[in-house]
Symmetry: C2
Subunit: 413 residues, 2 copies
C-alpha cells in the first residue's frame, strides 16, 4: 500500500480537480473491492467536502470472471432495468461520477470473445440514455486508476506482487502529479497548456489532418464546425471538471464518412479483458474495409461488428510522443494511460460536444454533420517518435502540425 | 483467516442446507467487503452447483458509518425505487437469498438513535412487498455469519485482532457443525430433533404458555390454529431450506392482544448498531405499557415507537439453556447467535406461516387471528437456567414444558 499522505492527496485531487465535487451534491463511485482502502479515503473526503451522499458501485474481478465462465448468455446479456434506473436516478439528480479503475488486463483472456462482445453490446444498449449525461457533459465525471496486483505484475513482470504494486503506485502518482507539492495547482497549469493547443487548432480550423509514419498513411477529414477539446471540460451547468486523469491529449472528431488510408497501432489494446496487438486497419470513406491483427484478431473482429458505428471513428487525439507517460517507458495495458502516451483514434461513438451545437443535435443531425454514433467507444494508439502530421487548410495547403512525434508549433509565438 | 477446507465446507453447507440452491436458480448474496474472501468461495461453489447467476449486494461498515455521520436525513430515509425493484426482480425470478452477516455491534453507537430509527423505518416501509417473499417462505433464504475484526474483538476483548477472528471462526464452525465430518448430515439429524419438538407442541395445541423466572412472570396467549415451526422450513414451491444457521429454536406466534405480565431480558440486544442492555418490558393485552433499560433506553424507545405493531409481539421461541451456543459461554452481541442460546420473543411482525392458513390471509384477517404486523421484527433473549414454562391446556390445566431452563418433556416417550 502506498504512503497514506499521497493517497489522501490523490483522493483530494480526484474530488477537486477530477469531478470538482460541489456542496450537497451526490457522488457515485465505481470501484473494485480490491481498491476498497483507497475508495474509503475518497468517500470520507467527499463527505468532508460536503457531499450529501456517496454511493459506491462495487465490482470484483473474480466474480466478473466467474460470471463469464458460468452464467448462460441470457444472464450475461440481461441488463436489468433497476440497474439502468440506478444510473439515471443519480444523473438526473446531478450527481458526480468518479470511476476508480483497477482492472486486470488479462481477466477475460480465456473467455470466448463473442460472449464478451455480446455482454458489452447489451450493456451499451441499456446504458444509451445514461451515456448522454457523460458524453454530453451534462454531469461532471472523471476516470482515475489505482493498482491491482494482477495489473501491476503485468506491467512489472519481474517484480514481486508487493513491489509491483508499489512501483505502479509510484508511476501513477508521478503521472497524475500527486508527487507535486500542490497537485491541484499543477493541474491548473497543465490544463492551460492543453487549452493553448486546442485554441490554436480551433483557430486553424483545418479541413483535414494527414498522418504518416511506418505502417500509417491516412487522411482524416474534419467536419465543419469541429471543436478541439482537451484538459478540463465544463458541464452544461458550468462546472469545470477533468474527465480523465491523467490526460495529455487534445482531441476532436474525424468525419464519419471522411477517413481514407491505413493506420497501424503502436501499442497493444486491451478491450473487454482481452488483448489485441500488432494490428492495422484500412479505411475507405470512413469505414474499416480491411484489418489484420497478430494477436486478438477475433476480439478486434467482434469489436468492429458491435454495430454499424463500431467500424467508423469517433475521436482523433494528439499527444506528443514525449508526454510524461510515454517517457516513463512503460506499457500500461490500460487505455487511460496508454492513450495519453500517444496520438490515438477511437472506434465508435464520437463526443457530440466535439462539434458546434452537437449537444443539442439528434442522431440524424449528428450523422449529417459527420459525427459518428455507436454503442462503443474504444481508443487505440497510433503515435510514435516517427509520426508526422500535416494540417490541410481550407485552400488545400499543408502545414506541419507534428514532426517526429512532437508539436511542430510553438504555442508561445 | 480460517483453514481453507473448513471455509469450503461452510460455503457448501450454506448453499446445500441453508438455501438449498437449485440448478439454474439465481443466488443473491448480501455480504460485507470485509468478508469478500469467504463470499467469493460461496459464489464459486454456487456456480459449480449450477447457479445461473450470483449477484452480490456488497456493504461496508465504514461507509455505512460515514453515511450516518454525514448524510442529511432525507438521504438516509430515501430508499430509491431501483433498490426495491432490484430485490423484487430477483424474488419474482425465484432467486435464493443468502445473507452473510458480519457486522460490528457497536458500529452506530455514536449516532443519534432517532436518526437510525428513521432510516430503519424507511427501509422497512420500502421493503414491505419484498418481505412477503421471505416471511411467507415464497423464496428460499438463509442467514449465516462470519467474523469481522471489530465483532470478534467485542466477543474476545482480551485477544489480538487476529487471534480474536481465529477464535470466532472456531466458535462459528463448531456451532454450525462445520467441524463435523459431514455437516449436511449433521444438520439433517439436528432438524429431526427440532421437528420432534414442534410436532409434540403442535399436537398439544396449548391455549397459552406461562413463563416464570427472576424478573419474568408473563402469560402468552397462543392464537387458535397457531403452528410451531423450527429447523428446516419449506418454500411454497416445496424446497426445504434453513432460514437461520445456527438455529436451535422451535417457535410460534403469541396472540397480538393476549400477552400480560413482565419479562426481563437476559442478554444484551444489539439493534441498529446500538446496544440495549438490562431491560424489561411490561405488557397489557399484548401491548408494551411500561419499560426500563439500564443501557440504550432511547434506542429501545425508538424501536417501540417504530409503528403500532412494534410494541406488540410477533414471535415466541423455545431454546434449552443447554444449547451448544449457550454452552460456549460466549455473548455474541449478534441476534442470530444469542437468540439460539436462549428462549426469546420478538417485537414486531409475526411470520404469517405460524398460523393455519396465514400465508393467504390479508392484513385484516391476520389481525383478526391475533397475528401481529409491523415494519420491524426484533428478537430479544429471555431464557436462563432458572426459567420454568408451563403449557395451559384447552381446559385450563397447567403442564410443565420447561423446568430450570430445560425441556420437561422426553420426546422419545
Ligand atoms: Zn482520447
Ligand atoms: Zn476516447
Ligand atoms: Zn427466533
Ligand atoms: Zn425472530
Amino acid at each position: 500500500m502506498a504512503e497514506q499522505q499521497l493517497l489522501e492527496k490523490y483522493a483530494e485531487l480526484a474530488l477537486k480537480t477530477g469531478v470538482n465535487l460541489q456542496k450537497d451534491q451526490a457522488l457515485v463511485i465505481n470501484s473494485s473491492i480490491e481498491g476498497a482502502d483507497f475508495t474509503r479515503i475518497v468517500a470520507r473526503k467527499a463527505y468532508e467536502l460536503g457531499a450529501k451522499n456517496v454511493h459506491i458501485n462495487w465490482t470484483d474481478d473474480e466474480l466478473t470472471l466467474l460470471k463469464f465462465e458460468h452464467a448462460p448468455e441470457e444472464v450475461l446479456t440481461n441488463i436489468p432495468s433497476w440497474q439502468v434506473e440506478k444510473h439515471l436516478d443519480f444523473a438526473k439528480d446531478g450527481a458526480a461520477l468518479l470511476a476508480i479503475r483497477s482492472t486486470n488486463p488479462d481477466l477475460l483472456k480465456d473467455i470466448d470473445p463473442a460472449k464478451v462482445a455480446k455482454a458489452n453490446k447489451a450493456s451499451g444498449e441499456a446504458m444509451k440514455e445514461f451515456r448522454q449525461y457523460t458524453m454530453n457533459d451534462r454531469i461532471a465525471w472523471s476516470i482515475i486508476s489505482i493498482p491491482t496486483g494482477d495489473w501491476a505484475q503485468k506491467i512489472f513482470p519481474e517484480k514481486s506482487r508487493e513491489d509491483a504494486i508499489e512501483s505502479l503506485w509510484d508511476s501513477i502518482f508521478k503521472i497524475v502529479r500527486v508527487d507535486k507539492e500542490d497537485p491541484v495547482a499543477a493541474w491548473e497549469k497543465h490544463n492551460q497548456l492543453l487549452h493553448q493547443a486546442r485554441t490554436y487548432l480551433n483557430k486553424k480550423a483545418y479541413r483535414a489532418l494527414v498522418f504518416k509514419s511506418e505502417g500509417t498513411d491516412i487522411r482524416f477529414e474534419l467536419p465543419e464546425g469541429h471543436i478541439w477539446k482537451g484538459g478540463s471540460a465544463e458541464t452544461t451547468g458550468g462546472v469545470t471538471f477533468n474527465p480523465n486523469m491523467p490526460t495529455e491529449e487534445v482531441f476532436t472528431v474525424p468525419h464519419k464518412y471522411g477517413v481514407n488510408g491505413k493506420v497501424t497501432a503502436k501499442k497493444p489494446l486491451v478491450y473487454g479483458g482481452n488483448m489485441i496487438d500488432g494490428f492495422s486497419l484500412t479505411f475507405k470513406d470512413g469505414k474499416v474495409v480491411d484489418f489484420e491483427a497478430e494477436k486478438g484478431y477475433d476480439t478486434l473482429k467482434h469489436l468492429l461488428d458491435t454495430d454499424e458505428g463500431a467500424s467508423r471513428l469517433g475521436e482523433l487525439a494528439l499527444v506528443p510522443h514525449a508526454s510524461p507517460i510515454s517517457q516513463s517507458g512503460l506499457i500500461f495495458y490500460n487505455t487511460l494511460f496508454d492513450e495519453n502516451a500517444s496520438c490515438h483514434i477511437a472506434l465508435g461513438k464520437a463526443y457530440p460536444t466535439n462539434v458546434e451545437g452537437g449537444s443539442d443535435m439528434n442522431e440524424a443531425e449528428l450523422d449529417k454533420h459527420g459525427i459518428n454514433d455507436s454503442l462503443t467507444h474504444v481508443d487505440f494508439m497510433i503515435g510514435s517518435a516517427e509520426l508526422d502530421i500535416d494540417g490541410e487548410t481550407a485552400d488545400g495547403n499543408l502545414e506541419p502540425v507534428f514532426r517526429q512525434g512532437a508539436w511542430a508549433i510553438d504555442f508561445n509565438e
